[in-house]
Symmetry: C2
């Protein structure tokens, strides 16, 4: 696969001079058309030739308009990055619709870490599975992903390094790492080839480009990129792919019906339990801070089910600097320019703290599904996407728990009316709440499917009966203290 | 000043129950009106009573709508934060117009660090000078800044801590730090009082609130906040304050006229120098990376003066992962919701890397001044604001250099025409460029004043003759290599 690219392809100075001006015009024009288009572009530059990748990145920044291009070189993780799941930085680096991101490096680095025994085969497999999933998600979301692997033969690289070292004017471009990489090239090849095959996707193959001749390399990459941009722009506005069929069978639905809504607790008992549980949570949270264990608590539930009050009973037990509550509303205009999971990745906290989402990424399979804001194909693939997201949190050692606060329709009605009668709560009830209420059964079906398909050992759903608010608060605090304690024990 | 607040003020349960509902309605309504207003709100909570501050933060999050409120507890610097100038995190925490940010903690922490000898008197003075400057800038920009200092007498705090420790249900709220703070309270008082006086500003006094009684404390803070919001909302749309008179005298202008635009270099000599300088810059940049020294290079200049080409000669000498070029265009809609310096603070890089701004914060005193996008009062105070910004970069150990690429009008015209004739450069020339050209003298005056008022020892301006592009590139590379070398020696 890689050897096949070792053809000694070159481009003469004259050919280059003849080709480049028009190529640059085409690229700039395509980039300008892209600004109005409804998809982002990710250019991935991997390869076994670091110097070539460096030069190519500089070239792309020269030939494209740098205002709508952002380059991310994936070197060692920063401390900020290493406090989050591994792919956090890729999500942080996603381009908005209409723009281009260049991701350079990272793949070969991962391979070398494996060859040196710094990561296990299992870790490499997990890494590549999540990377594949990310690519699938971006492609499904409409992104154009153009991938290049810059390859130079070992002999050519060696000769170039030697020549460069002899030439005092070029000597600065070479350092010890380049020689070290050269030694590992042969061992790396089978691993790299396997990964390249794995990351090939329909509509996004790898372009292996021989990198020995700079003129040939830059022009070849630029041409492929231009053609991919033009082809994709020509398709824009095409209908989305047909919806996949839902594989979820309604049979055996029980998450909501199994819940005993009559559960209740008296006020004195509530006070006592609340104090004990808050004290316990406080101690656990200090330990979590010391040990860098992060908590992600996700709250969903019927309107007026008491999410806000429950969340406050949690935050009261935490130090003000150790948590953040993120109320999830309809995405802003900026957020709509990204994959729907982007904003949740963005807000992942630093190590040792707690983030509480008041409504969550499950909006995709709940409100967006029921109200038709997401296409069937979109919300149907979201279960896998969400599972992959949460798996990455758990793998990073996060404590993850998800709560659905469950109510009877009658109790909800009573609360809506009480809110309308309480001046400082009136802003909490809107026409939308009344409309949602009319679609109770649709929502219930969506909740059932959600719980069935996304409750996992490492990121469980808790369906909490909340007709009695106090009972619900205690139940949630009990789940959180138990779960956090277990996570601390396993960490 | 603080003692005067020790009045033993309390609020009975009945008074509280009577007051709070209407107070909450008022707060929510004011917050909703704020969303459409043209200013941000910063609520600062400082104090000598940590537990009280913690509780108050939770209370504000309960009484206000958390969707338009963001709380920032200023604890220890994260690693990400400590790689930037000290106030980076405050700039990162600024609310956009129409929203509220709560900044809690930090002030007392700073005082204690000083009392313990962890920071010197000089460092404390520098810190408070920049904080004052930040407050002045925000107020001048229209922000509402509401400041609270929560004070409890030593006796009350001691009694409360003891009582809490005896009560198993409350015991978790107290820890060792609280006792340690109590011991330092007396020594801290004179320092705190001095700082409070210093940070008082017209329109933004400190509100010292006795914090011993939780009901009194929360209601008092909420009332002051409500009244401040309502008063400021009532003023909205009022005309901006009268412009200050420019103190800059045109006499002795020389930055541009002193430059020898005939400076030139032949092609062979250029090649040779370029290779030597790039190799040198590469070595210096690796050393800077190793030692965590950050570089900020700011490029301004006439249209078509060759900023892009010059920047590329710099980036060619850097590793692709070690730099970022930020092309500064007109602010986006989101950016316009913040102070004009916000986006430049946002993009400050992590330690050891280089950020190159292609056009900069000087837009405020150049294009915004000349085109009338900024009011005279706004651009006139910008010199001080910019000097303060750059001083903070230098204090953090950054290497800072600013370049104005200077051209003759005749050379600019020739380049415009050449661009119009080169297909892949046509996008670089717009009607705006031709319009700017007609205001050459206005721009020249703005540049003269800018260079005169903002060229400092630690953040110098270099006015570079650029009629010969090659000469300009060499001159810039020489300045950067020399300056970076000096910074490394001093670091």
């Amino acid at each position: 696969m890689l050897e096949a690219a070792e053809t000694g392809a070159r481009l003469s100075k004259a050919e280059y001079a003849e080709t480049v001006p028009q190529l640059r015009v085409d690229l700039i024009n395509a980039q300008y058309d892209l600004r109005l288009a409804d998809f982002p572009v990710i250019v991935i530059i991997a390869g076994d030739d670091r110097l070539a990748a460096n030069e190519l990145v500089n070239r792309l920044n020269e030939w494209l308009d740098a205002r709508y291009l952002r380059t991310h070189v994936l070197g060692d993780l920063t401390s900020e990055e290493s406090e989050r799941p591994r792919f956090w930085r890729l999500w942080q680096s996603l381009p908005p619709k209409g723009q281009i991101a260049v991701w350079a490096g990272g793949l070969f680095r991962q391979v070398h870490a494996y060859l040196r025994g710094e990561t296990t085969a299992e870790e490499l497999a997990t890494w590549s599975r999540h990377l594949e999933s990310l690519q699938d998600q971006l492609l499904a979301d409409g992104a154009l992903v153009v991938k290049f692997f810059l390859h130079s033969g070992r002999r050519e690289q060696k000769a170039r390094l030697k020549g460069a070292e002899r030439d005092p004017e070029l000597g600065w471009r070479v350092d010890q790492r380049d020689w070290a990489r050269l030694d590992e090239l042969a061992d790396a090849r089978p691993v790299v080839e396997r990964l390249l095959r794995q990351f090939s996707a329909p509509g996004s193959p790898w372009n292996v480009v021989e990198a020995t001749d700079a003129r040939y390399r830059d022009v070849t990459v630029a041409r492929i990129l231009r053609d991919a941009l033009l082809a994709r722009l020509a398709q824009a506005g095409a209908p989305p792919p047909a919806a996949a069929v839902s594989m979820f069978s309604g049979a055996g639905r029980s998450a909501l019906t199994a819940v005993d809504l009559a559960a209740t607790i008296d006020r004195a008992e509530y006070r006592k339990r609340l104090n004990v549980l808050q004290a316990r949570l406080h101690r656990l949270s200090l330990e979590a801070r010391d040990r860098g264990l992060t908590s992600v608590l996700a709250f969903e539930g019927w309107d007026a089910a008491g999410k806000g009050g429950t969340i406050r009973r949690i935050t009261q037990a935490l130090e003000a600097g150790d948590y953040r509550v993120i109320p999830t509303a309809a995405p802003t205009e900026e957020e709509r320019r990204y994959h729907y999971l982007w904003r949740f990745w963005r807000d992942l906290p630093r190590a040792g703290t707690t983030v509480i989402y008041d409504r969550t990424w499950y909006g995709r399979v709940l409100v967006e599904r029921v109200e038709g804001f997401a296409q069937p194909g979109e919300w149907q693939r979201a279960y896998d996407e969400i599972n992959d997201f949460e798996e990455q949190l758990a793998e990073r050692g996060y404590y993850v728990a998800k709560f659905w606060l469950h109510l009877s329709p009658e109790e909800q009605l009573a609360r809506f009316q009480a809110r309308a009668d309480t001046p400082y709560k009136q802003h909490k009830i809107t026409d939308e709440d009344w409309r949602n209420r009319e679609r109770w059964d649709d929502y219930a079906e969506a909740v059932e499917e959600t719980v069935a398909r996304t409750s996992t050992d490492r990121a469980p759903w808790y369906v909490i009966p909340a007709n009695d608010k106090r009972w619900a608060r205690i139940a949630v605090l009990e789940a959180v203290t138990k779960g956090l304690k277990r996570s601390l024990r396993q960490a």
